[in-house]
Symmetry: C2
Subunit: 311 residues, 2 copies
């Protein structure tokens, strides 16, 4: 029941998508995982964390997309050096494939940030991010991919069994809870705080707000201007609760989100245009729902976003 | 300025999507074309027509998706034999890659056709087709693809320079006019008639109809129950007109439609759910428009759909 290429010497590849599975026992079943990362900055901590993941590398593929800006140039050369090192090292330690893409669509221009109202900037930024994610997804998803792990380039700490842990829930879409470690000057120690507010459950208020919006307006979570009263997973973290506790979600972020490849293959992508007044990863979640998939989050399963004093 | 793999021996592939072009001189610029065909039945005439296309095969990739039904089994074995023949023949006559997928999503069950009202059946069929197209697209589009030609398995006659002709228009989305040849018993000769009514320009009437529809209702072109007054490209054929005449379109069919790969990479797929009350290829056209692409058709550029006495 393995998915095999036939007659590859003649450039014929034959795959039965019906025999391609995404199960709770991904590693055991040798399911291929594609880790996708849009990368504006190369953080060594991200890379070190990636290398400590225990999912078998022979079944792990990596895909990166970098903006064609000067920060993208810098990130690219660092990424290339890191990638070259691991892929020329011991054969059994290599990833099955690494794709590095330079982005076609315009990256978000940092200079604009001060000139414009934050919410407006946020819309453009999210739309640019959606384009980058789509380019990466459409170019790298293959007929052997069982799972896609969206992992942002500034996620610097995750459990080593991240992929095994998350696949074991066997969900179509599943988000980890993205927190941040910071040094608390008063308490004089490292503390944690919620970071990503894109993982949420829908509220009647937000639906009501959306109804009153013009066709092309979007509702971005995490902006004070609009009180949505959505239930944000970031606030559902319970330090004493089971790490495998699940909650239903309606919107997700892209920080650390696992997706069954079939969800994307059925058409779920990252809308750059308002889709039910949502874009990017939140629009993706809505699209997955329209394709009849259920979305979940793990409120007590924490991964950490980098803390940068200067962005 | 060519797009190249680097260090492929280490499974690292590096692509600059910004240097990947889709131009009016596709063959000259060695642009890769991916021909995608959902296939329920293998028609020898389709295959023979495909083999007579003059676009360089070294830049032509093929992708097929077949339903997992008994008719899919039959088509698969015929397709495999045909594919094997060409890919083991002279090296310089081989296609650069051929991917054959067996569909995961349920194919449309022919048995239901008689039991249900035609419009209802049409909706289910179009939705199943959309799933098949998405599975094929997401699994086969690669970082080197410049163009995607959607070519149905029952298109049996096209000009040999189809790809050069169509790419020369340099449009984001461009549909040929799908006609059918048939034997006219009265005139005692072969005549032609319009076949595909999914290539159309929007009308105020259709927009008005859509406005009055429930959120989940769809508007399928070509069904008598609903007079949409859309301008159907099928009726704009002028035997005396220039074959390169263009017209704006708002909806397209999948019979013979050329798409710049960037349109798909930006996220345009085939909605299985109502998107502006449209699904499948018509929904794709709307999505391409939402991504700011313009859509065109070639009313005088004819390709032919098979005529089958049974089916
Ligand atoms: N390819 C690409 N990646 C980007 C761009 N902007 C940000 N990123 C990356 O996308 C991810 C999310 O962006 P970030 O600014 O961290 O968003 P935030 O954490 O939600 O504020 C990170 O991995 C960034 O490195 C861009 O313009 N192009
Ligand atoms: N993979 C797949 N292909 C299909 C299925 N049904 C039809 N097709 C193919 O999809 C294309 C369009 O279908 P067809 O029935 O000819 O549509 P029509 O010409 O618009 O009536 C043709 O190439 C068919 O062979 C299906 O269930 N799965
Ligand atoms: Mn971030
Ligand atoms: Mn047909």
């Amino acid at each position: 029941d393995r998915v095999e290429d036939i007659i590859p010497e003649n450039h014929i590849a034959h795959y039965d998508l019906n025999k391609l599975h995404s199960t709770a026992e991904a590693a055991l079943n040798k399911e291929h995982v594609l880790i996708l990362t849009p990368m504006q900055t190369f953080h060594q901590e991200y890379w070190d964390n990636l290398l400590q993941l225990t999912y078998p590398r022979e079944f792990t593929e990596l895909g990166f997309i970098l903006p064609r800006t000067s920060s993208g140039d810098i990130a690219l050369s660092k990424l290339e050096a890191a990638v070259k090192k691991v892929q020329t090292d011991k054969k059994n330690q290599r990833f099955s494939k690494i794709t590095i893409l330079r982005q076609n669509s315009a990256g978000f221009d940092k200079l604009m940030e001060k000139e414009r109202h934050a919410l407006e900037v946020q819309k453009e930024r999210r739309s640019a991010m959606a384009s980058a994610r789509n380019e990466l997804l459409f170019s790298s998803l293959g007929p052997k991919t069982s799972w896609v792990l969206w992992l942002d380039a500034d996620i610097v700490e995750t459990p080593p069994n991240l992929i095994q842990d998350m696949t074991s829930h066997n969900k179509a879409v599943l988000s980890a809870n993205v927190y941040q470690k910071y040094y608390d000057d008063q308490a004089k120690k490292v503390q944690i705080r919620p970071y990503d507010f894109n993982n949420w459950q829908e509220s009647d208020t937000a639906l009501e707000l959306a109804k009153q919006m013009g066709d092309d307006e979007i509702l971005v979570e995490g902006y004070g201007d609009l009180a949505t009263y959505r239930a944000l997973m970031a606030y559902f973290y319970d330090a004493t609760g089971a790490t495998n506790a699940e909650m239903n979600l309606d919107g997700v972020g892209g920080g650390c989100t696992l997706v069954k490849a079939d969800v994307h293959r059925d058409g779920a992508m990252f809308p750059t245009f308002p889709f039910y007044h949502l874009i990017e990863t939140e629009g993706f979640a809505k699209m997955a729902q329209r394709l009849n998939y259920d979305i979940f989050g793990l409120p007590n399963y924490l991964v950490y976003h980098i803390e940068e004093t200067n962005t």
